[in-house]
């Protein structure tokens, strides 16, 4: 067996894990790794800010379900990854971050570009490592990938000292995992739990399936559609759950939550049985907990036991992989189908009621012939996007995109949902473009978020990434402005984004890419067509109505069924 350096072992180990691409940025202590990459077939995309490397790794992981990989040097390189790591932790996205560290002898002595990466990222990761012994390097990488992808996925960071990278040893490749006594996954439910759950579900007369990101992670879209059909139950989903069910399915309601649809929020609030599948009763969904779905019993299925009974008491809780649980549960429901009759009529009436709400209160807005309304922008994108991957940034545009874009399959929608990190959209779309080159990749950003990721225009051009970046430009930090409008008597403090905003065609040209600005509704269609038809990247700046608010809205501290439906039209609990 040949002697290999730590750097070589690192790259070999990443390749063995099926890594196709590393998003990274070199630095002093990682030069040994970059020296190996120089002649290695493993692809590397050089970013322009490490934060975006973490977002790109996420974009790739969200698009193809594999572990995304990012790399940064010690000190500032590693700390720049932190935001992207916390974001991955909040949305349970599998990424592995490799960081270099100063040589062991210098640790703790304030060496050049030294930071306590292990300490700083403890709270930003599912798990992390500091590798000081070359003998354990390949084992750690193997373990890191396993932890990142298994159970509830999440970010894992591996910090490697420079002397390990430069050291030499015999590389023993192994697929064996050392026993992880503290990490035991419960993926399969037992028979008794399934029986209990099935019996529990047949008693439901007003069921509501509440599908979350876990359905996407587990790729359980078929199973969730099946259970909804068996029970005749309406389905609502979280921001993370887009694509779990085709939008034209008779049981599909819409997204629920703070800016979810009226019918979805009422369905959740008035049901008698919540079927929580891979979702975590987040505060954006529940509104005030003491008034949330007061009459509902809850079946909660999640792979993470911490989520069950965290925010809402579960009458029946099942820990397991939601796809495996649903397969067994669906089979049991079919087996016990004679129990369907008892509640069938009530469920049919409930279904009709929910769909009635949906018909009476669709998403809507006042159209304009003279300005591009943000909702019209989203509708226009929806008409043209086909099976494209869409990554959004954070803010009003994110909510309108979530409302007006339709996704019929998982892994085409990417949103920083739990952490809500601005600057996510464009790099996530870039990661998706790399992971799924045969699919068009669209990024929708606000004018605020776009400016946070701006440096990566260079990366797009350098790597010829055919990303279509659409800026929904209203000149404000829109969501904050909306809150200041509705709750702070329009005291618009520090939300003006228009001053200093660049001329987009000039900016695009400066970077050597195509770009344009569009202002009139009749020009929007052709502009989008041009952008989507362009073989390479395109930067489209869409000037939209300046002050428009996202409705429905559940105000902070409000109950889920007390939505503001439009300007000055508050609505109390269900009609």
């Amino acid at each position: 067996m040949a002697l290999m350096t730590g750097a070589q072992i690192l790259i070999e180990s990443l390749a063995r894990e099926g890594t196709d691409v590393i998003f990274g940025y070199p630095g002093g202590v990682t030069i040994p790794v970059y020296d190996v990459l120089y002649a290695h077939e493993l692809k590397h995309i050089l970013v322009r800010h490490e934060e975006n490397a973490a977002f790109m790794a996420q974009g790739a992981a969200r698009a193809n379900g594999k572990v995304g990989v990012c790399m940064a040097t010690s000190g500032p390189g590693a700390t720049n990854l932190t935001t992207g790591l916390v974001d991955a932790l909040m949305d349970s996205i599998p990424i592995v971050a490799i960081t270099g560290q100063v040589p062991q002898a210098l640790i703790g002595r304030d060496a050049f570009q030294e930071a306590d990466t292990f300490g700083i990222t403890r709270a930003a990761t599912k798990h992390n490592y500091l590798v000081k012994d070359i003998e354990e390097l390949s084992q750690v990488i193997h373990e890191a990938f396993y932890i990142a992808l298994s159970g509830r996925p999440g970010p894992v960071l591996v910090d490697i000292t420079k002397d390990v990278l430069l050291g030499k040893t015999h590389f023993h490749a192994s697929d064996e995992l050392r026993p992880l006594r503290g990490y035991e996954l419960r993926l399969d439910p037992d028979e008794a739990e399934i029986e209990e759950a099935a019996a529990f579900l047949w008693e439901a007369e007003r069921p509501c399936i509440y599908a979350g990101g876990g359905i996407i992670t587990a790729e359980a879209d078929q199973e969730v559609i099946e259970i909804s059909e068996i029970l005749g139950s309406p389905l609502v989903h979280t921001v993370m759950g887009h694509g779990c069910m085709p939008v034209d399915h008779p049981n599909y309601v819409s997204m629920l939550g703070m800016h979810g649809g009226y019918a979805a929020n009422m369905c959740m609030s008035k049901c008698d049985t919540i079927i929580g599948l891979g979702a975590r009763f987040d505060d954006r969904v529940t509104g005030r907990l003491d008034r949330f779905a007061p009459d509902a019993r809850v079946l909660h299925v999640d792979v993470d036991p911490c989520e069950i009974n965290k925010n809402r008491r579960a009458d029946v809780g099942v820990v397991g992989d939601v796809k495996r649980v649903l397969k067994k549960l669906n089979a049991k429901l079919r087996e016990t189908a004679e129990k369907a009759e008892a509640g069938a009529e009530a469920r049919k009436g409930w279904h009709d009621q929910v769909m009635g709400w949906k018909a009476e209160h669709p998403y809507g807005y006042e159209k304009s012939a003279t300005e591009i309304k943000p909702q019209f922008l989203m509708e226009s994108i929806n008409e043209r996007k086909g099976d494209a991957n869409v990554a959004v940034d954070v803010g009003q545009h994110q909510m309108w995109a979530a409302q007006y874009l339709h996704f019929n399959k998982p892994r085409r929608w990417q949103s920083s949902s739990g952490l809500g990190t601005m600057g996510f959209g464009m790099p996530a779309a870039m990661g998706a473009a790399v992971a799924k080159p045969d699919q068009m990749s669209i990024a929708i950003c606000g004018d605020g978020g776009f400016q946070m990721a701006l440096p990566e225009l260079a990366t797009i051009v350098a790597n010829k990434l055919p990303v279509k970046i659409i800026i929904m430009n209203n000149g404000w930090l829109g969501m904050v402005r909306q809150w200041q409008d509705l709750f702070f008597e329009k005291r618009y403090s520090e939300v003006a984004m228009a001053p200093g905003f660049p001329d987009i065609p000039m900016l695009a040209a400066a970077y050597g890419m195509k770009g344009s600005t569009v202002r009139l509704p009749e020009d929007l269609g052709p502009a989008l067509d041009e952008a989507f038809a362009e073989p390479g990247p395109f930067l489209l700046n869409v000037m939209v109505t300046r002050e428009e608010n996202v409705y429905p809205m559940v105000p902070a501290g409000g109950a889920l069924d007390e939505m503001i439906l439009g300007p000055q039209k508050p609505v109390a609990a269900g009609d």
């Binding site: 292990f118 300490g119 403890r122 709270a123 599912k126 798990h127 500091l130 932890i147 992880l180 006594r181 503290g182 990490y183 739990e193 005030r288 907990l289 003491d290 949330f292 993470d304 036991p305 911490c306 069950i308 009974n309 965290k310 925010n311 809402r312 008491r313 579960a314 009458d315 029946v316 809780g317 099942v318 820990v319 501290g557």
Partner: protein
């Protein structure tokens, strides 16, 4: 209210920080924390006494258990458990005529004198936290007291397979935290 947590964690660099981190991330004050290796040198046993409200206790145990390095975590707050601490208490400026009385009082607590000079006595005592509190209160009447305490260790009285485990099934005692608006 004080939560008593006993846990088994891998004996590795960073394990202590990770467990303590789960508590400090949530702003819970740690009253005491002891850790040392077990019969299996790759595993350490940790006992923590922290200020955690009743409704948050079950969730905290689950979140600690979720850590990759933690093998098991048990909430012993309401279980029968033997809880012990060690303390070294130094008493100075004792009135000479009181020295004898002092040692007799300490005997009641089964405290041993481990150091004696004309200017002070140092006592070593083990016992429940309450017993140690009581002895310290008493000794303060005799002179100037300095003390160090080890923090509690606990050993459950129940057999291992009957220890309370965090439940993901419906559990009468396990209500989620009070809704905050």
């Amino acid at each position: 209210m004080k939560q008593l947590i006993s846990l088994l964690v891998e004996n590795k660099a960073g394990s202590l920080m990770r467990v303590a981190g789960v508590l400090t991330s949530r702003g819970y004050n740690i009253h005491s924390l002891t850790v040392a290796k077990t019969l299996d040198p790759t595993l350490s046993s940790m006992t923590i006494v922290a200020e955690v409200s009743d409704e948050n206790r079950p969730l905290l145990i689950k979140q600690i258990t979720r850590l990759v390095n933690v093998v098991k975590a048990v909430d012993l707050t309401e279980s029968q458990a033997v809880q012990r601490e060690l303390s070294l208490i130094k008493v100075s400026r004792i009135k000479p005529e009181m020295r004898s009385a002092l040692t007799k009082e300490a005997e009641i607590f089964r405290a041993n004198i481990v150091d004696a000079t004309p200017s002070h006595y140092t006592f070593e005592v083990t016992g429940s936290p309450e017993k140690i509190d009581a002895l310290i209160e008493l000794l303060e009447h005799y002179g100037e007291v300095e003390m160090v305490r080890s923090g509690s260790m606990a050993m459950a009285r129940l057999p291992k397979n009957q220890l309370p485990v965090p439940s993901f099934r419906m559990d009468e005692e396990e209500e989620p935290a009070e809704a905050k608006s």
